[in-house]
């Protein structure tokens, strides 16, 4: 049996868990290739116009995989940690996809909702595996293997690697990686949702460009979840969007502790949660007044001009400040 996992949305956070789970059970796991113009065009033409670009990209990846697999893995992601929620568009993703009017293989859509308890993800994955005829014991062992793989992934992120670096390990055209010894003046904090930052096509090569200019790039994924939780607890009111919490937690950590020369926040045009989180972060950054801050809004552009101009001006500003 072949199961397809689209390389989009929270794939960038959870692919070790998801692929290992199915692979352990003996399924052949197929991921879509990195986003290309074809994939984007496919997604944009089928998705409702109001959907954000990352959702449209997800459609494109799902359509790409559809003819090659017997099942598509499209979890209904409700919550990744207790007390938080993922964006409603991600919760409704399997339903939206089913009604996109394309012929799709059956979707496997366990409801992943950490609010139902600490073992809720495992239970949901187990139920889905049972539907395919696997025993509870087999599913349990697969869950353990998957959790171990995910823990290894988290550890690698903690070493300063980005999801993109880890994904390309062992590949011929692997990411150059970065010099971890570059000091504060050559370090930048790159904040945003993982499916924007680590999708080279959608981010117009942002990560590559920053590294090519000689910067070490830090992302929120590299900080421990405990640290993010501590930072988030400093907010006057708990932020329940988990990706927003990650962005804001990492942002406030670096605004307090220093260690980077500037902050770039990448948002999708029309992102609801980020309209709030982005504003909170920008105000925090301005109040702190120490670090240059850039808000980059991404949409369907393939012309890089607007992004490159803002990025160059931002780096000039960082270098100008460093020198003065």
């Amino acid at each position: 049996m072949r199961i397809g996992i689209p390389r989009a949305l929270l794939y960038y956070h959870y692919h070790p868990l998801w692929s290992t789970f199915w692979r352990y059970l003996g399924l052949e796991v197929v991921s879509s290739p990195p986003t290309s113009k074809e994939i984007l065009d496919q997604g944009v033409s089928a998705a409702v116009a109001e959907a954000c670009l990352p959702v449209k990209v997800f459609y494109g990846h799902a359509f790409y995989l559809a003819p090659q697999v017997e099942f598509l893995f499209v979890p209904r992601l409700v919550s990744a940690e207790t007390g938080t929620y993922i964006c409603p568009k991600l919760m409704g993703l399997p339903d939206m996809l089913r009604h996109a009017g394309r012929k799709l293989p059956p979707l496997l859509s366990p409801t992943l909702n950490a609010r139902c308890g600490p073992r809720a993800w495992e239970e949901a994955l187990t139920r889905t595996a049972r539907v395919l005829g696997f025993s509870a014991g087999q599913a349990k062992r697969a869950c353990n293997a998957a959790a171990a793989e995910q823990a290894r992934y988290t550890a690698k992120l903690g070493e300063g690697k980005t999801p993109l670096d880890i994904l390309s390990e062992g590949k011929e055209d692997k990411e150059g990686g970065q010099d971890q010894n570059l000091g504060t003046q050559k370090a930048l904090l790159l904040l945003g949702h993982p499916y924007n930052l680590f999708d080279d096509f959608i981010s117009l090569g942002l990560l590559r460009r920053l590294r090519a200019r000689g910067y070490r790039v830090t992302t929120a994924e590299m900080l421990s979840s405990r640290l993010i939780a501590e930072e988030a607890a400093r907010l006057p009111k708990a932020l329940f969007w988990s990706l927003g919490r990650l962005v804001l937690g990492a942002g406030s950590y670096y605004l307090r502790s220093g260690g980077v020369a500037g902050i770039i926040h990448v948002v999708s045009f029309g992102c609801g949660p980020d309209s709030l989180v982005g504003e909170l972060l920008e105000r925090k950054a301005r109040r702190a007044g120490q670090l240059p801050f850039l808000l980059l809004t991404l949409d369907e552009h393939t012309g890089e001009g607007g992004m490159v101009t803002r990025l160059e001006a931002f780096l000039d500003m960082v270098e100008w400040r460093n020198a003065s």
Binding site: K37, F293, E312, M317, S324
Partner: protein, 324 residues
């Protein structure tokens, strides 16, 4: 005598500035790009060649604006800079104590915040071009007012009417309604200026710490009505520099001067470029699913540069690009 040439190739206008060794403007030219940046650059060079004083030779050239790469490839540039940095450099040259730069060009608008001679924050308009030069042009034409008289007409207003400034489409229909009710044209024009200033302050300058001295740059700064509206809204005097319309080009010339300091060579190809034959061709690369649109620039039949690909397969093959 050594002189420095700055080119600002924007969406609406192409500007050239000739600077002497003391950083003073010898000649400033303002041309319409009219969708053909190559022709505009050549025309600008031809005009500049006629105006350059005897005994003066170009010791350095710099380009900026959205067409900066193209212009640099054509003329050979020692400095290629984004328009934010170029405008900031020119503003600091004009007034070293400047703390805020308001810039409104043909299709974009920006704000630059400086403190102690260093850029600390900036923003550009994102999705909306309401309130930029092209919109003012269009409204002036619709009202039958020459754009040059737009500002002085606004100054004569007794009682500016309120126009919706959030969106160019709304502004236009609001203006038409007010016209049909019989309001004097000067009150409508002044109301439009106030609406555009409101829109700029709410969208572009959103939350920025605007402090005097304030410089107002870009083509729209010629409009006295806009300047008055800014002064009214901000409560500070707004200074319009003498060369406000060509400040980007001035900044590029200053950056070229810095780039060649201590050197006795320039990449500038000379004014002959205005008589060269330039050809461009574009094609879709079939190397992968991205199908990048690759552009080739040829001067006198020789390949000068290629760009538009994501992977570098074509663009790394550059024979005589500005960077070499």
């Amino acid at each position: 005598m050594r002189a420095y040439l700055g080119l600002d190739v924007g969406s609406v206008s192409t500007n050239l500035v000739l600077l002497n060794e003391n950083g003073e403007v010898v000649t400033g030219l303002y041309l319409r790009t009219q969708g053909n940046p190559i022709r505009a650059v050549q025309e600008g060079l031809a005009q500049m060649e006629k105006q350059i004083p005897a005994g003066m030779s170009i010791a350095g050239a710099g380009t900026t604006g959205s067409g900066r790469q193209l212009a640099a490839t054509m003329v050979g540039a020692d400095a290629v800079k984004n328009e934010i940095t170029a405008h900031a450099v020119a503003a600091l040259n004009e007034l070293p104590k400047v703390q805020t730069v308001l810039e409104i060009g043909g299709q974009d608008s920006k704000i630059i915040i400086l403190r102690q001679g260093v850029v600390v924050d900036f923003a550009m308009n994102t999705v909306c071009a309401a309130g930029t030069g092209s919109f003012l042009d269009r409204q002036a034409a619709r009202l039958g007012v020459p754009i040059e008289e737009f500002g002085s007409l606004a100054e004569r207003a007794q009682n500016p009417v309120r126009i919706a400034g959030r969106c160019a489409v709304f502004a236009e229909s609001d203006m038409i309604h007010k016209q049909q009710l019989g309001y004097p044209v000067e009150d409508i024009v002044a109301g439009l200026c106030e609406a555009l200033v409101r829109n700029y302050l709410n969208n572009v300058a959103k939350g920025k710490d605007i402090q005097a001295p304030i410089l107002f740059q870009g083509g729209v700064a010629a409009n006295v009505g806009m300047r008055r509206a800014f002064e009214k809204a901000l409560g500070f005097p707004v200074i319009v520099p003498r060369y406000h319309a060509v400040m980007g080009a001035l900044g590029a010339a200053l950056l070229a001067k810095r780039a060649v300091a201590g050197r006795h060579s320039t990449r500038f190809r000379g004014f002959d470029v205005s008589r060269w034959r330039f050809d461009v061709s574009s094609r879709s690369c079939g190397g992968c699913g991205n199908q990048c649109e690759v552009v080739e620039i040829l001067g006198e039949g020789k390949l000068l540069a290629r760009w538009g690909d994501r992977c570098g397969r074509w663009s790394s093959f550059v024979l005589e690009a500005a960077g070499k």
